[in-house]
Amino acid sequence: MGVVSPGFHGRPRESSRRLPPGQYETHDFPVLSAGPTPRIDREDWEFTVTTETGDRHSWNWAELTSLPSESPTLDLHCVTKWSKFDTSWQGVSLDVLLTGVETAADFVMVSSYGGYTTNLPLEDLLDGQAWIAYGYEGDDIPPEHGGPARLLVPHLYFWKSAKWVHGMRLLTGDEPGFWESLGYHDYGDPWREQRYQGD
């Protein structure tokens, strides 16, 4: 399955093929949130990767946005059953950010401004599968959609794509994040409909 959709436009047959089981297509962009929307000034924004040995790598706003960026067009699949096709983003691939990070970790705990967390295998952030995004549809990412910067991991349910991303801890063992600790699936593959624990 390709992560970056080839950019064809919605004939019904294409649409159903792009829709994971149990999902419906929506054309608006529902706002889901587990708390108040944090307002983070770009001057104060920071993204930090902490390795399992305690090494810290951090980027401020200027450093993030001066890195080589990509403009992926992505299909989003939310566990609450909506899917949205052909969203366009601008951001930095995690391959770029993690290239200088020495680690033997297999897992990552992502954390956000406001306290949200989500966990995923490190390998799901690599090989062109994930970005720290700071642009949406040619503009800044609105705060309610996770701006100034959010994680994008479109091949997993959208709760893994943490809004207001602030940091990542690289871990040698898996730990559950905010929804993963309350009944939601640890991995969350929409094509295998891994919504809840045991799915």
Partner: protein, 111 residues
């Protein structure tokens, strides 16, 4: 009713059955809570008063700020925004996390 032959803490079975009620190491399984729990969860918990584990302020559950446009329900303390109560539902299970609440005082109606 309870089987008093269990001595999980390694105490020899020297306590006679007749001393059961004086032995603080004795316990029953969770079914002993069935009556009290059914009483508690049958009431409207929104009238219960919860103490926030973060700031220590006690408020009725009904005053929590509950975020519902999410994969679950997230209740936050109205004073410090700490998550005090979370619930999710799958087709087969309900999940409840009260780790952000230290105590819950539940008014009981006596008739």
């Amino acid at each position: 009713m309870a089987d008093m032959n269990h001595h999980p803490d390694g105490h020899p079975a020297s306590h006679g059955h007749g001393h059961g009620h004086e032995d603080s190491d004795e316990y029953e399984d969770g079914n002993a809570m069935a009556g009290p729990l059914s009483e508690i969860f049958a009431v409207d918990l929104t009238s219960a008063h919860g103490r926030c584990a973060n700031c220590g302020i006690t408020e009725p559950v009904a005053r929590l700020r509950v975020y519902t446009r999410a994969p679950g329900l997230v209740g936050r303390c109205p004073h410090c925004a700490h998550v005090t109560l979370r619930m999710t539902r799958s087709p087969d299970n309900a999940w409840l996390d009260m780790s952000g609440t230290t105590t819950l005082r539940i008014p009981l109606t006596t008739t």
